[in-house]
Amino acid sequence: MIVVGALAMPLPDTLGYAAPVWVLQGLSYFTLSLHLLAMNFTIGACLLLIWTHFRNRAGHAGVKHFFGSSLPLGMSYVITLGVPPLLFVQVLYGQLFYSSSVLIGALWILVIPAVLIAYAAFYYHKLQREARPRYQWAVVAVATTLLLCVGYIYVNNLTLSMSPDKWLRIYEAHPGGGILHHGEPTVPSRYLLFLSGAFAAAGVALLWRGAFLFRWGYDTEANQSQKLGFRAFLLSPMLWIIAASWVYSSRPEDIKAMFVFDSTMVLLAVGVVSALVAIAFAYLSVGKRNLLFPLLSSLGIFGGMVCTVVFRDQVRLEYIKPYLDIASIPVNAQWGMLALFLMALVVALALLVVLMVKVLPKIAEGARERLEKTIAAGRT
């Protein structure tokens, strides 16, 4: 190569954007927030399952059982809700995302077997925990470790995708992609930030569970579930504060400048208010059969998640400013296809709501009967 220190920045795809940037961003923000919510729930559920296994207090058996049953479903939606952000990140930032993925290729592809094994382990746990109770906690622990690794690889890939200046050096040394984004100071703090919601997401699930248990007349079990849920919930804001200040202090100065008197401050404020709403309603949920409070608390978590996701994208745009201006990429809008997609989405969601309204009560009824049997058998 003739030019020394050249930047290996690929050209944007010549087809351009199939919709205005804000549409693609909006879709990405919405779906990624749902993905992160499901991901946090799944990891939180794993951690609480293991914790309750070892604490083994009154009421813990039920909580453990509940999480064990929900892990496969949680995992399923982590993956399904991860697909649209995967699509939109490739549309919006393909040049960045493909490049960084290839640079860590060998580890990036390991995400697939890791997710596969963890997911299969969750089913194994759910279907075999009664027949073979020994070491079931270890099965979940292995799966949890794998998921934690997957998240770590994600953070490495996405931070690397924002650092084109390092690409060529990394590629020259590791063309097979066997290395992560080493030496990047923001990786550990960012990782903690994205996982800090785990206890809130799993905790709020226990609040929901408690509300149903109250309705079915299992007051003791309901109280235990909600108390544990709320206490777990509180861990999240604490972790978040640690992670957020750590992230801030590990950022380069020009990025820090973004935080001052800017629209990003508004985002931060909205995020904090959402989190406070979530905490307040979580507190109010405890000891009640009321379903509105856990709902509002869940929405608060989701709001906080959306703010984090939007904020995260603004930081990304700031990082890549010297290399790529997405406003310069042509928009060749496929309005018809966009409309078709939105129609399909609305129809599908409406259909799912109708079906769920009819079927979920039946499934709950089944769950209640099984619970009754378990209690009768004296196992709770």
Partner: protein
Amino acid sequence: MNYPVWDVPFIGSGLVVAIIAIIHLLISHLAIGGGAFIFVAELWSDRQKNGQQIRDWLHEYATYFLVYTTVFGAVTGVGIWFAIQLANPEGTSLLIHQFVFAWAIEWVMFLGELSILYLYYYGWQKNSRRMQLWLAGLYFVTAWGSLFVINGILTFMLTPGAWTLANTSILAGFFNPGFLPSLLIRTLVMFMVAGLFAIIVAARVTGDDNLKERLIGFSTKWLIPGALIIPFLLLWYWVTLPDSATDLIRGGVVGVEGGRLEIITRYFWLALVSGALIVVGALLIAIKPRVISMTGAIALFLIAQFGFLGAEFAREMARKPYVIYGVLYSNGLWKHNAVNENYMQRPYLETARWDPEVSLLSRSHGEWVFRLQCVGCHTRDGYRSIEDRTSDWDAQFAYRWLKTMHEQGVMPPFQGNREDRAALAAYLMSLHDREVAAADILATDTLARGVAEPVRDEASEAMEEQQ
């Protein structure tokens, strides 16, 4: 060369894609065909006297089906996406940008399919019969809808039809010549896969009544439409394929030694023979349902896996050297650049974007040309090994061969000038521990051609002939 090339030792990036894709193909067909199977079996059970017994069995089918398709199917599906993005970023980017909302609709179908399956499965004891039928039917509709969408994108890669970079009409690309035959073949194949899977679950049934016979009888019927109609559909599909692809399948690849590398033909036959074996096997099972054991049923299912392996490799080979037929080569070279002599003759590394600083004609020069141009399809010493393929070559031969490598019909033309070719030829020799200096290769060549006309390269003549 827009993107870095993922240089996977020994296996090669192409094989990573293939391994994941082959597993996924069988499961995804099961995921759709199984939906139809469950729906029809629900209806069938209503008309049978021991309907509840059949439905209990069906629940067992659904359990295996759910775990197998949602765990392995969904994750390998995402896995293909991860793998193609690593193996071929440029091609993936084209598919993503052209079909964003088709992918998005595909996801809607998938979300629907998955959620409905959970409602069906977890509600089976409490839901009304009517509701279960509705759910099973809706599951099949959404699952088949996802096939409909993905089929348009997949067939586009091999037969883009009227779609070109100048006419990026989504309809032209989506409803391409391969769309319909492929959709029909897949639909029939997935009924067959659903039947084969049912035979496995039915083989477990014990008891004196004739439940097992009836279940097996019901399941084998799912293979009949495919066995009868697919051969004709294959003929139809064949005529939609580009000529060069059908030539490849008929004749295999003509190698340097004049021998025929008939791999593609072999894969094609593997698919056909597996299909035939499955039909014969199912026929035997239908005649003597009592004797079929789990092992036998699983063996038949594994034959189907081999069938998918053959079909996948044959299709991959048929598309060679392209990732999007006639538009984009597998190594990221665009066809419209390939026919541009100026573009092709430029010193390769000046335009390659992803190479580090190397000195001209050094071993690294050759290595980086190799990595960026060849590693998309070859490894050094493993899958489609270059060491094996060049073991009895000498440097001059390699140097000349590179000029005309595209004439084999499975490889893109070489990009770069004489220096690049010499450096690569020297690198290829170094893989056999034969140290030849690239500069010597150039010197010998210049001598051989007479010093008078060293500038004009034969490669450019070859390019002109092509145009």
